[in-house]
């Protein structure tokens, strides 16, 4: 039992978890940024089997006739001048591609170059992810660390966890050594939903793989729907990364990052709870 004075060291992350975390961090960033460049080649999204310039798109990013940039979602026009659809490149020149140079790989327009990065790291994602899943089944990372207990899934318990997060009241003492329920659900969502969805919708866009496994086209409602879902899930991953990084900063970045590198986590001091 940790007292406010004693702050025991805890071996928190096993090596396969740590290795995959950093490999995957790199992989997801390269896939996201090269994916944004691929999007730049045709910055419109559609639902259904087909979709091209003359067909109605549900999302579009580009320059406006007034000389700015905008993101359009259905009939909602959101001005994005300076960031999306109208921005300055590294040389100060105005560009009207969808995503700006600092968000894409490569930094200047190259669909072929982006595809090289994307399809190399797609393999890293698939092979690394598969190895991690196998290792986590063997070392019981999933069943011991990620699987929420019955109690944790009770609505009252979850609601308490949501309130604690909203008040930025993070677990201390012994509880900080375990994942909290929302954290578990977020990780499960990424590992068992978002990343598999990225892989499956990605494969559904492949005309070669359509011949191998046409059922995926039925599942996602056509290639252009798969492309839209691929984009939405990528934005979901981006949202996860933002929240994840904020939580790391709030929970104590040195301790958190150290534990993800060495495995060792120093239990934060127990705090007195009010109310």
């Amino acid at each position: 039992m940790a007292t406010p004075q004693s702050r025991p060291w805890l071996y928190r992350h096993k090596w396969p978890t740590r290795l995959w975390h950093w490999l995957n961090a790199l992989t997801i960033f390269i896939l996201l940024m090269s994916g944004l460049m691929i999007f730049n080649a045709h910055p419109h999204l559609y639902w259904g089997r087909y979709g091209a310039n003359f067909d109605p798109s549900w999302l579009g990013i580009g320059p406006t006739p007034q000389g700015g940039g905008e993101l359009r979602i259905y009939r909602l026009h959101i001005p994005t001048t300076g960031v999306l659809g109208h921005w300055k490149d590294a040389h100060g020149h105005i560009q009207t591609r969808a995503f700006p140079h600092w968000a894409t790989i490569p930094g200047s327009y190259s669909l072929a170059g982006a595809r090289r990065w994307h399809f190399l790291f797609a393999w890293v994602l698939i092979l690394g992810g598969t190895s991690y899943v196998i290792a986590s089944l063997i070392n019981r990372h999933f069943s011991k660390d990620l699987k929420p207990s019955r109690t944790e899934l009770q609505p009252r318990h979850l609601w308490q966890d949501i309130k604690d997060h909203a008040r930025l009241r993070l677990p201390t003492g012994d509880a900080a050594g375990r994942y909290n329920p929302l954290q578990k659900l977020a990780y499960i969502g990424v590992i068992f939903f978002l990343i598999p969805m990225m892989i499956l919708t990605g494969l559904t866009m492949s005309p070669a793989f359509n011949a191998t496994f046409p059922q995926l086209l039925v599942l996602f409602g056509g290639r252009q729907s798969a492309r839209s879902i691929h984009f939405l899930c990528a934005m979901g991953l981006l949202a996860f990364i933002v929240v994840h990084l904020v939580m790391v900063v709030l929970a104590g970045p040195v301790n958190e990052i150290r534990s993800m590198i060495t495995g060792w986590f120093r239990t934060p001091p127990e705090k007195q709870r009010h109310g």
Partner: protein, 250 residues
């Protein structure tokens, strides 16, 4: 708060460094080897997982795109092509040569008398858009067989009338795709003769690959053992000039 801002800055700087790093790494030898290795792995795994004659999805008439947009060259501006077009392609011939026992020169009328296939398939541009159209034309495999394809041939090269600044467009496929039942030489789109922007009089349809493989404005087919001596040696116009992947199945 100042700490938070500096951390956010650190993140942005970190992302920028990674981006700059990627752009520096991309042209290096190890990166090139990794990229080409990944393409080769994708190609091999696809050939391993996909039965040789597995069909690309075909659609119903209701799924056809209202407007089938064209891409790339909309009109090969050459005088040769203009003359053929003016004559309604009566003088046009498809030359089948290279590593074949019996080189051929086939007219459009002769092509239309061969066993035809009509298929409603999806055209996927490398940029991301898709259009569905109804294609009609003779199956490529029997033409190659009739020409007596040499057993040493490994690739089929498609030479085109269009060019980009004097560099002629061409494409190439392996024999698995060349003898695939859906690989046709289309002269018809949506029940009409192929419009000029879509590649009149004849274009390749290789349905398990992306749009840039669907060579338009065909004038010659060449069987080869290696792609090294063709064009820039990478197997296609976009492969040569912009490093697009030769295997465009994904």
């Amino acid at each position: 708060m100042a700490k938070l801002v500096s951390r956010r800055k650190a993140l942005v700087v970190g992302g920028g460094l990674m981006l700059a790093g990627c752009d520096k790494i991309a042209p290096t030898k190890p990166a090139r080897a990794a990229f080409l290795g990944a393409e080769d792995l994708t190609y091999r795994v696809n050939r391993l997982l996909t039965p040789r004659n597995a069909l690309a999805p075909e659609f119903s008439g209701a799924d056809v795109s209202p407007i089938f947009r064209s891409n790339g060259t909309a009109h090969p501006g050459s005088p040769d092509y203009a003359k053929l077009l003016a004559g309604n392609f009566a003088d046009w011939r498809l030359h089948v040569g290279g590593m074949v026992n019996r080189p051929l020169a086939i007219s459009l009328d002769q092509l239309k008398k061969l066993p035809q296939r009509t298929q409603i398939t999806r055209h996927d541009c490398v940029e991301g858009w898709s259009a569905i159209g109804r294609w009609t034309g003779p199956v490529l495999g029997p033409i190659l067989q009739f020409a007596g394809l040499s057993s040493a041939a490994r690739f089929i090269v498609f030479h085109c009338y269009d060019d980009f600044g004097g560099t002629p467009y061409y494409e190439s496929i392996d024999l698995v795709d060349a003898f695939h039942p859906q690989t046709i030489l289309a002269w018809g789109l949506n029940g009409q003769p192929l419009p000029v922007p879509n590649g009149a009089p004849l274009r390749l349809r290789v349905e398990r690959q992306l749009g840039y493989k669907q060579a338009k404005y065909l004038h010659a087919i060449e069987a080869v053992a290696s792609l090294d001596q063709i064009g820039g040696g990478k197997g296609g116009y976009w492969e040569d000039v912009a490093d697009y992947a030769w295997f465009a199945g994904i």
